[in-house]
Amino acid sequence: MSDIVFSSWGRNVVDNRNGGDADLASLKLKLPTEYLNGKVGAFMGWDGVVLLDGETDVVAMAAEYMKRVQEKHCCGKCTPGKKGTRVMQDTLARILQGHGEERDLEILESLKSLLEGCKCTLCMTSAIPVLDTIQYFRDDYMAYIRGGKKPKLAASYHDKLTAPCMDRCPAHIDIPAYIEEIKNYRFEESLSVIRERMPIAAVCGRVCPHPCETACRRALVDEPVSIMVMKRVASDHEWMHHKTPPMIPNAPTGKKVMVVGAGPAGLTCAFYLALQGHKVKIIDMLSEPGGTVAVGIPDYRMPRPLLQREADVVASLGVEIEYGVKLGRDISLKEIKEQYDAVFLGTGAFKSKPMGVEGEDAGYEGFSEGGIHYLRAVALGQGMVTPKRVVVVGGGNTAIDCVRVALREGAEESILVYRRTRNEMPAESYEVDDAEEENVRFEFLVNPTRLVTENNKITGVEVIKMALGEPDESGRRRPQPVEGSEYVIPCDMVIPAIGQDPDLSYLGDADYGIQQTRWNSIVTHGGTMMTDNEGVFAGGDCEYGAMTVVLAVGHGKRAASVMHRYLTDGQAVLDDEEALEDIVNRLGVFDDNEQVPVLGGLHREHQPKIDGAERATNYGEIELAMPESQAVVEADRCLRCYRVAMVAVEK
């Protein structure tokens, strides 16, 4: 039997009430049938209704949905939203109480078109599932209106406010809210919204790959809103006005937590645990905060004094940070477990992947262990001497950072070698442009085959030309060597920058029962970020493999939230908000085929930028702060694409 009774999701109506076999899988609806400890009866949201349990009362659900939209989510800042959803709520409640009239259904229908004139899509889209129920479950409504029918409430209802951008953001920041605050010249309030989900806005306002912007509905009419830069604007406002952050931690709980790693995941986790009143200590193997952000992202993209300020803010909440302490070397996980009530591992991915080229482990002078090592040595001033000609191998952000840093370290020629074309480069395209403006030389469709040495010293790298073949599992066309096309690029240094893996050697042979993946990353369960070892949580690059700062922040936040429950109730479980966050995320919120009825034609505002020749010689920040008045103009482009989802859970 089908798991779907009825669905109007995506305007695609499937009605199995009188038989039929369309199911979730055939509809490509990634909706779970279970919710925490119950069964999903029905799901209601911006794109329709999905009924999984025929016993679920859709009229009662619609009434509850509209009540929550009006009383919990509607901001009240536009007439149809404020008043129209109230009229809908009361009308539905009246019908449910048996006092409705058929005329009420017409009123509800007429309100849908008024709600299309709403200021944002929250109330506007909330009418869609309700009107679907009126259209497809009219008999149920008429049963109430004629009298006699009693509402059958579900065991529980759970709702969630989302938006395509906030859903796509791994940290699930309430993006429309913080952008609206900027639009209203309320920069401090904007930062407070960001800080509900992310403590390091100065970082993610600068170096985030901003997946959110790929789910921006504004892009469907012109260009995506500059969501990332808005975050920097809010964060810079506080810094530039010498404001003290307003957060005040809760009363001490008496619980102690150790966070390993002062990178984005660790800082985030510590921040939220400290706010809950837990006593947190962070240890880090480096001499300063930020992890990969500090030593892997050059200062011209992420000035370290600002990173330090973010860590200072975390410390100001009572978090102790001790540098130069390495897990597995200076302290063991066993010792930590004995002394602390919970542990968070945010140890990053600091091991460079090998190129698979002969001689790379021979210890040649001029051969760098990896991009991340090169960047770290330069950042920490560890006496790294950069010679005249440098070849960096790889197409990611680290490779780009390496070629650009090499120029700043005195290289006369800095060459990036990549086996595919520019289009396939995983690095941000603007960074590739930036590197080009700074006179980095690119050699595309070539792959190293051999290191050329003289007296144990690198003198060049032999490469072979590549041609693009059939697409691989990543969807990119697979490069294949062109036989006999080898040639040598003379150079004094070769830096492979083709990826990093976590270094989990600290787990040692004992492994503490913590499962690892075949990519040497830590396994956690069910979105709780808890490992197989109870009380030990993990997140960021060490859990996922080398990924983004914002993912690490998302992990750190989620872990802190679950750890708080673990520390206070002994249960490492998700709450409703998080469970629904994951459900909605699987379902997907952004629809890139949507016809957005908004006038486009407004270009996206850009930050001023230092020009290529001027910047290539120093580590001064390249992108200058966007003037606040310009940020207000940009923020006004936001369409506030809120949506409300609700699930009815039956026992």
């Binding site: 919990k72 006038l599 008045s629």
Partner: protein, 842 residues
């Protein structure tokens, strides 16, 4: 609302008509240009777009649904239709939704007759209501000071929220609650000096924001609106006096038509009530006996004649018009043959003016106030600008928010504008000169000085470095109690800004270090380019409306009108005081000022005044001073007379007589003229233009005399400041006197101006009495609790008042507002100072 850079133009079509607007403009603005009116409830041109009411829906070709004209930016080539059956139906439904549960209390609603909701319903013929819902509106909020909020009438247009946050920087209104329960609430604010945003009432399209002083006092349509200017703050906002049957009911302003774009200061919103006070002087009196004005004037004339010359002295006021002050000095100099005239400017603005003239050849501001709005950096030094001159504050807010200017605030107290600033230099009393000099030195050392200006205009430009050599930034930082890095940052921001505006106020002009600080500020202005830039300048400000005009009119012993040196000997205020004490001065004529409250050493003044043979007090309100007076002359209030006020930036505004003088009171001008005629037997014209022309003929101050403007007039124009080559002096500044121990600052608080506001119910609702503000640190150390009565004692005397424990003061600093006769903080202030060392006891 635009960042810098040239704006390109876009072309669009609205209802078949072509129009071109600047990029970034909305459809509604483009329609307005064509004279097409699109109905709206929430659109307010002067704030950022809101898009709340959803009434202004229009169709744009190719867009799937109607869009709101008020917040949709026009793009090239769009074709817009503003009318049509569907659109009108939708608009009407939006209005109907707005009316769901809107109370039908129009008959008792203050907005009736000027309500946008009434108008829009009427225009659209809304006669039915298909929608019903439970009424969940929050109850009426009556416990705010001065404003009553009626959420059930509110359409949540957010105009009040935005005008406060975006234009005045003061408002604390915000939307609270969700859904249909949402309403306008207030964020917790400064409870020491709570500011209620009167502009919220001005911009409210319905009767949600109601002014308590005005509530239920008059129907809007019965009020005449008489164009005039504000009566407080030397930036002279253009306002409409709303009057009926010879009574002032309220003051409003208009967007677009006024230089202040409809924005009011606190006094205009709530502080005007003193003109209707039952303490108004309604008749002349001699030794307590009511007499006719002419009778009283005869006695004054006779005594002046009897005593003759130097035994007669007079004090005038910055509340009086230019013409009145001109006649005042003329009366003394030509009729009484006395040159003993002065004013409270002696203790403040005159000193600043003298210093500016000495080093810059400048009297007052160097440029028009509007220039502040275009500045790239604004330094507000020693001024609680929000309180002293609201309109200057609004221009600073404009520079800050719309021009991305650096906002730099230096003050002894954490004044209201400090919370918005990029950098706040909370300097210790007595460290002003050192602080300004350090900023100047840093700019010079950074190579950011305006060399071209220095070279051309400063005669000793070669000495700049030498004069600054002794300045030690680290030591200064220590003396100021300010982080050196912050001083460096402020210098960097000032130095790198192309357009710099420097505003300074009463904390500087009234201080013991006034002259040295003003010299230092003049140095900073020259070096930072404030005097040479396109959009900026140096702005001394004062709370009194006609401080500049008072000085221009020659009310000072050493100056005839227009700063022409007076060769006759004459006494300054301080010399008059001493003269009374020594018996040399036997008759004192006080017009529109009260030395018993507003002059430093007020207790000494009181003792002296007991000795005067004839004390003549010409004022609008009864006070301890009129009680002491032998002759009381009732004067007309500002709404009852006409004349010129000259703003701090030299703009001449015209005060319009909107109502008849109360009782037997007469304008100060008429009183002076009659007295002049009585003494000299000559006639004195009362025509403002003729008086101004007479004044202009005797000096070089004016470029033109004569009424200009349409609704809001100007009566003359002054010559613009234009320094000659090598005419300015870079000063080698001293250190200024440092303060020791616990220091009490006397100053203005926002709800009050001078002493008259203590007769205004609106101002008294915010601050009914004086208080002594004390930091929580000092309060803890001294065991003082909030509200406890404390005594402060200085070398001059003691004063007693209630303590207010505050987070706006650094430790070691106390503050007391000077307006209140009962607290009378000026009795402990030395002459020519606004702070003094005190002992505080419980």
């Amino acid at each position: 609302m635009s960042h810098k850079g040239e704006k390109s133009m876009v072309n669009l079509t609205i209802d078949g008509q072509q129009v071109q607007v600047e990029q970034g403009q909305t459809i509604i603005a483009a329609a307005e240009k064509l004279g097409i009116k699109i109905p709206t409830m929430c659109y307010l041109k002067k704030v950022s777009t809101t898009g709340a009411c959803r009434v202004c829906l229009v169709d744009v070709e190719g867009v799937g649904a109607p869009v709101t004209a008020c917040n949709t930016v026009a793009t090239e080539g769009i074709v817009v239709t503003t009318t049509g059956e569907e659109l009108v139906k939708k608009r009407k439904d939006m209005i109907r939704l707005m009316l769901v549960n809107h109370p039908l209390d129009c008959p008792v609603c203050d907005a009736a007759g000027e309500c946008d909701l009434q108008d829009i319903c009427f225009e659209h013929g809304i006669l039915d209501q298909p929608f019903t819902a439970e009424d969940v509106a929050a109850g009426k909020i009556t416990d705010w000071p001065l404003i009553e909020n009626v959420p059930s009438r509110c359409v949540l247009c957010e105009k009040c929220v935005k005008v406060g946050h975006e234009l005045t920087g003061i408002g604390d209104f915000t939307v609270v609650e969700r859904g249909d329960m949402a309403y306008i609430g207030r964020k917790p604010g400064n409870d020491i000096d709570p500011y209620i945003e009167g502009n919220a009432v001005e911009v409210c399209p319905v009767g949600a924001m109601i002014s308590k002083p005005f509530k239920h006092s008059a129907r809007s349509w019965t009020l005449d609106k008489v164009p005039s200017i504000g009566f407080a703050g030397g930036s002279l906002e253009q306002v409409d006096l709303n009057v009926k049957q010879d009574k002032l009911f309220r003051i409003t302003s208009q967007d677009d038509a006024t230089i202040n774009n409809g924005l009011l200061g606190f006094d205009s919103s709530f502080g005007y009530g003193f003109v209707n006070s039952d303490k108004r002087l309604l008749s002349a009196s001699v030794n307590g006996e009511e007499v006719a004005m002419a009778e009283a004037l005869k006695i004054v004339a006779a005594k002046a004649g009897e005593l003759g010359g130097s035994a007669v002295a007079g004090l005038s006021s910055a509340r009086l018009t230019v013409e009145e002050n001109y006649l005042f000095q003329k009366l003394f100099r030509t009729a009484f043959k006395s040159n003993n005239i002065d004013s409270e400017a002696r203790f403040g603005m005159l000193r600043a003016s003298e210093t500016l003239n000495q080093v810059l050849g400048l009297r007052g501001a160097s440029a028009a106030a509007e220039q502040i709005a275009g500045a790239d950096a604004v330094l507000v030094f020693g001024s609680d600008i929000t309180s002293e001159q609201p309109q200057i504050n609004y221009l600073i807010q404009k520079a800050y928010r719309q021009n991305d200017a650096s906002l730099l605030v230096a003050n002894m107290r954490k004044v209201r504008i400090a919370k918005e600033s990029h950098c706040f230099l909370n300097y210790a009393p007595g460290s002003e000169v050192a602080l300004v000099s350090a900023l100047t030195k840093l700019i010079v050392d950074n190579g950011q000085a305006d060399e071209a200006f220095l070279k051309q205009y400063v005669k000793n430009s070669a000495d700049v470095k030498k004069a600054l050599a002794k300045v030690d930034v680290a030591k200064t930082a220590e003396a100021c109690g300010v982080d050196a890095a912050l001083i460096v940052e402020v210098a960097e921001r000032l130095g790198s800004a192309e357009n710099v505006a420097i505003v300074f106020g009463g904390d500087v002009t009234k201080s013991a270090n006034c002259e040295e600080t003003v010299k230092a500020l003049a140095n900073l202005a020259m070096v930072s380019g404030a005097l040479g830039c396109e959009s900026g300048g140096l702005y001394p400000v004062d709370e009194k409306p006609n401080m500049q005009g008072l000085l221009d009119a020659g009310v000072a012993a050493e100056y005839l009108p227009g700063y022409v040196a007076c060769t006759e000997a004459g006494m300054t205020a301080q010399q008059i005081l001493e003269g009374i004490e020594s018996g040399a001065v036997k008759m004192l004529y006080v017009a529109g000022t009260n030395p018993l409250v507003s002059y430093p050493e007020s207790a000494r003044w009181k003792a002296a005044l007991e000795k005067v043979e004839l004390l003549v007090v010409q004022d609008i309100l009864a006070s301890e001073l009129t009680e002491m007076a032998n002759v009381v002359l009732p004067a007309a209030a500002y709404s009852e007379k006409s004349g010129t006020y000259i703003a701090c930036d030299h703009r001449a505004g015209v005060l319009t007589k909107a109502v008849a003088p109360k009782g037997a009171s007469q304008s100060d001008k008429a009183i002076f003229a009659q007295l002049f005629e009585t003494v000299t037997g000559k006639t004195q014209t009362l025509c403002n233009e003729k008086i101004l022309a007479e004044m202009a003929g005797s000096c070089e101050l004016f470029s033109a005399v004569g009424l200009t403007g349409s609704r809001y007039l100007a009566s003359c124009s002054k010559k613009a400041y234009a320094p000659a080559a090598a005419a300015l002096t870079f000063s080698d500044c001293g250190d200024g006197a440092a303060a020791n121990g616990l220091t009490l600052i006397a100053g203005k608080m926002h709800a009050h101006t001078g002493v008259t506001s203590t007769y205004a119910a609106g101002a008294l609702e915010i601050a009914p009495e004086g208080y002594i503000e004390i930091s929580s640190g000092d309060a803890d150390n001294l065991g003082v609790s909030d509200g406890a009565v404390v005594t402060v004692k200085s070398a001059q005397g003691t004063a007693q008042g209630k303590a207010r424990v505050s987070s706006y003061l650094p430790q070691g600093v106390l503050f007391a507002p000077y307006h209140f006769a009962e607290l009378n903080i000026q009795q402990i202030m030395p002459a020519g100072a606004n702070y003094t060392s005190v002992e505080l006891t419980k």
